[in-house]
């Protein structure tokens, strides 16, 4: 089976989940899920509603702690590290429902993604103001490039609250890219996005992957998944049901049943 997917087996894995378990009361939302992401891969994570995709995603991103299992980022188990540590380690995420900082401008939103800013300490602003200024200029320069990249530069100084749903997805992408993560976890980047912006998002995600970033994508839009990913992973009832090339996996009977079973139940 792995031989069919050289991209995942040729290179050392950059992110690996091993036997993750997370229960909520009696429900084991994620029940022994494992996944290997090769460096530079783009993988789609699909599955029926309630399969545990978002919980799995939250475990990877650190907003939930697994009951058991390991998450290896490079050679380090990050499963129990706090979520704010992950982006510094190179693991960035977006949210299914975008979370812009509404009262802040688009540019300030993106600037917030900058890492290692000495000006985020109170004292540095008074003790080494010139260093803070230089860092801030550098960050603003990069933030403007990223806004160009997601085509939001015309809204640079607008409050994020005025953005449409699709623009918020793009803003969130720019914001997380500010931290320059090597692995991107994208939670339904196409959900509720109009067709024109959808093409832009697909194009940008493809470009980011071409730049060498590893991407894990939760997505219900099968067309988007098939166009972007060489490999998809199907989750059902909290664990891995199938993986493979999109066309093959979608043709499988058990996968169809997992989707249908949800309707029948």
């Amino acid at each position: 089976m792995p031989a069919a997917f050289p991209s995942s087996s040729d290179t050392a894995p950059i992110l690996e989940a091993r036997g993750l378990v997370r229960a909520f009361g009696g429900l084991r939302a994620v029940d022994g899920m494992s996944l290997v992401l090769g460096r530079g891969e783009m993988v789609g994570l699909i599955g029926p509603n309630g399969a545990g995709k978002t919980t799995f995603f939250n475990l990877l991103a650190g907003s939930l702690v697994p009951d058991s299992g390991a998450i290896m980022l490079g050679n380090r188990d990050i499963a129990r590290e706090r979520p704010e540590k992950r982006i510094g380690a190179g693991l960035g995420r977006t949210f299914q429902i975008p979370k812009p900082f509404r009262e802040m401008t688009v540019l300030e939103n993106v600037l917030t993604g900058a890492q290692g800013q000495s000006g985020e300490g109170i004292l540095a602003n008074f003790l080494s103001p010139s260093r803070v200024r230089v860092e801030e200029h550098r960050a603003a320069e990069r933030a403007r490039e990223l806004l160009d990249f997601v085509r939001l530069s015309h809204l640079t100084h607008e409050p994020a609250a005025v953005l449409s749903g699709g623009q918020r997805k793009l803003l969130e992408l720019a914001r997380v890219l500010m931290a320059d993560p090597s692995v991107l976890l994208l939670d339904e980047p196409a959900a509720g996005v109009n067709p024109a912006l959808l093409e832009l998002i697909i194009d940008r995600v493809r470009l980011l992957n071409a730049q060498g970033r590893t991407v894990l994508l939760i997505e219900h839009n099968m067309d988007m998944v098939s166009r972007l990913c060489e490999r998809v992973v199907v989750m059902a009832e909290g664990s891995l049901l199938a993986e493979g090339a999109p066309a093959q996996v979608l043709a499988r009977k058990d996968v169809a049943e997992a989707y249908l079973g949800q309707v029948a139940a």
Partner: protein
Amino acid sequence: MILDLAAYLAFFLTVALSYAVITLGLNVQWGQTGLFNVGVAGFVAVGAYASALLTTPDAPDRFGGFGLPIIVGWAGAMLAAGLVSLAVGALTMRLRSDYLAIATFGVAVVVQLCALNLQTVTGGPFGIGFIPRPFTSFAGDPLLFSLANLALLALVVLALYLFLERLLSSPWGRVLRAIREDEAAATALGKPALRFRLQAFALGGAIMGLAGAAQAHFIGFIAPDNYLPTLTFQVWAMLIVGGSGNNRGAILGAVVVWALWALSGSVIGSVFPAGWQARAAALQIALIGVGLCAILLWRPRGILGERRIVSRHLVTAPKANPSLVNNTPPEIPHA
């Protein structure tokens, strides 16, 4: 007559500015970070008592009276209130905003009850008197004395304003606002929300403590009754009326609301017969409440709302380009 009026105006402004200091402290906590502190009076009291204990002459019937210089008292007030805030924050910063409100309200009640009952430290219900006042050498000339105090407090407010503006527009201030807007997103971007909230809470508390000390030394006497929940309510009204999130708004709101308070107090004093005045004083609170409602209806962001672009160093070029697709390279500001 004119001199009297000027002296009164100076006195009025001095008190108003001491409230402005508290309001600036609350603005760090609520306006910037979204921390719902309903125990403002408690932190002001901690500062007032700390400074009073440090600076009053030795008193036989209670602890302390260390006779230290006023400036030491002020520094001690900030430190004490900051440390109390840090301790309270460490216990409560994980709470959701409504629970934080209940917890801080409880803290303020505890502080007030301690002031009332720890007679050997706080003087109990009689409070602490003989708190040294700055510029006592001018005491013979009420106008000069008032003006000197006003100048001192204006200087404090100005210094504090410049300090806080710098912080507000710094990356630190940006992270605070991000946490206020969406904590999960800020956390995902690598910002440890708890640490930032704790910093903001302690800084705001220290500023409130400073205000408590400034008031104590201006009046020369403190008692537990100064630190009832009414004080918290007044300060909240000041921040909301002036403009939450805006430091100038905080100062303006303090002056406006204090003017309303003082004016209504003197009107009530002259309109109602002596026997009714204690009860009529409740009208002052009602009036502030009505004013608050009016502001919330007509200007929900306050007289001066929060500014949109606050990050320093960002050269503003807010020319909105109407075309959706914009491929021109952006102008990049140079250092």
